[in-house]
Amino acid sequence: MAEAARPLALRWPLAGVGAGMLVLAVVPLGFLVFFLLAPALRLLAEAGWSEAGWAAWFSPWTDDYLRWRLLWSGLQAALTCALVLVLGVPVAWVLARVEFPGRGLLLRALMLPFVVPTLVAAMGVLALLGPRGVLQSFLPFSLEQTPWLLLYGNVFFNLCILVRAATEALEQVSASRLAAARTLGATPWRAFWRIEWPAILPWLMSALCLVFLYCFAGFGLALLLGGARYATVDVEIYTLVAHELQLTQAGVLAGWMLLTTGLCALAYSTLERRLATPLRADRIARQHPRSAAQWLAVLGCVAVLALLCGAPVAAIVWRALAAGPQVLAVLVAPDTLHALWNTLRFSACALVLATVLGVCHALAAQRWAWLRVLAFLPFVVSPILVAFGLLLLYPSWTASAPLLVAAYALLAYPFVATSLAAGLDGMPAHYLAAARTLGASPWRAFWRITWPLLQPALRRGMAFAAATAVGEFAVTLFLSRPEWATLTTLVYEQLSQPGVSRYDAALVLASALMALALAVFVLLEWPWGADSSGEEALA
């Protein structure tokens, strides 16, 4: 009887199956509580229990060194936001409004920074602009011990986030509104500021929240590129815990980090809710470039992306290939093969767990909308804080494989959950209504309609999750054992040793790691022989 009555059955046929949905929700919720919330609270408690009491919380602001760490973390994140905004919006405008050869390829290439591990990106920046970088000999000054290397690394990672969001936003701008503005006397420039800019602003703000979040809580880039002066709070927390054993001080810094990233995530989720509006049908058609100015704009767009997003990747491959056969032999060294095996097995286990968690979370979130926000929690708490919290809360499990895999899965599963949730949102309600009226029970409708149509979204989510696991660095540094070295920790180990050959070996290994992350991503995301109809339907 209830089956007939629930309007939600239109959107999601399991909505009526209360107990099943509850089980689906409990799995990811339990995981989040056990591996994220409890460790985060334990972290805060570490500082809260100190003898200094409340005063301990404000101690970083009275200490010049720690105050600089906190302020610089915010400042470099804000500077990155400004840089990606200024560079990204014109690039996005060209991608959204101009049809040119290779545009599709360029849009696909914008995924690259999402797949490249942070450690590899940092190595790429060093290979390009570092002490022995490809471009360093052409520069009249050294960028070492300046903030520019870190800012460049931040832009490499985050420009694509803004460009993708802005391109999508510009494609949603109503053609008729723009036409009305033009017929009412607005020049293209005025029409942009008065019609397009207000329309895309919420999307830009949402993307900038993410950029700020990633930069503020950045670890891998800051560790390698920040140096002693320009490292972030995350690096400081790592140093305090791993090298100085000052857990209380680290806990206080973690508290300030959680407060900032939490506020940022709150702003992001508020903006995201505002953006949840139906897509516009009257899209603006892209124009083929005709004038020299239009071609110049296209070239400028390609040049910006090539210089800021492509160059570090190219530099690292170039340097690795130029390292010579002796250094290339590191690829088949026993340590490397062992690290590769560790990377693959930990990533595979994490991927399985992340997929189960992500599917459960996305399905349950269709029934309880507030669950959606919780899927972003692992993005809010940085990997270093997760690892630190886990160490404090479960000391007897330190360096246990299940804990390591669980931490990997925690960082990876939001990709599966959010991708699947978007896929479910994009599923036209009429498909399920049609299936139900054609005799399919809720479960049959799910199995025959929903599940096949979700495959592209699932594959995409799994691809990002796998790339995250393969490139994981921060958690591995904290929770791993020496015999469980992965490719990322091996790269870091090589880099920590003095000598040119070690540095070159690190570059070669970083190239191999990048190739592995890309291969895993393509293997999962590429629709091998699969029907593209699901993507067509949900596009």
């Binding site: 009887m1 089956e3 007939a4 009555a5 629930r6 309007p7 059955a9 239109l10 036209p428 009429h430 498909y431 209504a433 049609a434 299936a435 139900r436 009226t437 054609l438 005799g439 399919a440 029970s441 809720p442 049959r444 025959r448 309609i449 096949p452 149509l453 029907d531 109809s533 699901g534 067509e536 339907a537």
Partner: protein, 219 residues
């Protein structure tokens, strides 16, 4: 015979005042009869169809089919066909499998269901497209496939929710005549919802306008 008895439904948005869409609505549609329901957007026409199909529950009232109260039955047990404005063809299935979908849900083996689907597609002049993907078809062809899919299980009632509004005027005219003929052959109770009065008059033996939640007889 399809019978609606005192159907009421209130729409309660998350914000703002609630609004009565249907107020104690009664309707009887005999087997083989087509009744059209006219009304502007937002008047509750689609909600009425969803209630008949079991996709939404009324706040009050019952739905009877052939002398049996089916109000408590889930959609897949109501022997009902539903045609949508946007066709709602399944994009991951080809034309033949779309048409065979309902038969397979009734427990028929896939091979047999496909044979029956092909036979029906042949009668609809669509056999050449049996293995095509649905997005490869024109709008008119897609709606033909949707009708074939709805009719293949021989439902006792057919509900059409503005089936031609996504099509151009010329195609709408020709399809309307074709659909009328095919539906008449099937002998079901038909509720045809539209906002186009000319279309309503040409297809419906009886016509109603949905005004403030109640049906007013037009002809």
């Amino acid at each position: 015979m399809l019978e609606l008895r005192a159907i009421s439904k209130t729409w309660a948005p998350a914000r703002g005042a609630s609004r009565s869409l249907l107020r104690g609505l009664d309707l009887q549609v005999a087997a083989g009869e087509t009744v059209t329901v006219l009304g502007p957007s937002g008047s509750g026409k689609s909600t009425l169809l969803k209630i008949i199909a079991g996709l939404e529950a009324p706040d009050a009232g019952q739905v009877w089919l052939d002398g049996r109260d089916i109000s408590a039955l889930p959609p897949h047990r109501r022997q009902c066909g539903l045609l949508f404005q946007d066709f709602a063809l399944f994009p991951h299935l080809n034309v033949q499998d779309n048409v065979a979908f309902g038969l397979i849900e009734q427990g028929m083996r896939s091979a047999q269901a496909r044979n029956q689907a092909n036979a029906l597609l042949e009668r609809f002049g669509m056999q050449a497209h049996a293995l095509a993907r649905v997005w490869q078809l024109s709008g008119g062809e897609q709606q033909r496939v949707a009708l074939a899919r709805a009719l293949i299980t021989a439902p006792r009632m057919l509900l059409l929710d503005e089936p031609f509004s996504a099509l151009d005027a010329a195609l709408r005219e020709s399809l309307r005549a074709e659909f009328q003929q095919r539906i008449a052959q099937a002998g079901m109770a038909v509720v045809w919802v539209t906002h186009d009065e000319a279309e309503a008059r040409s297809v419906g033996a009886r016509g109603f306008r949905l005004v403030e939640g109640a049906l007013q007889g037009l002809w």
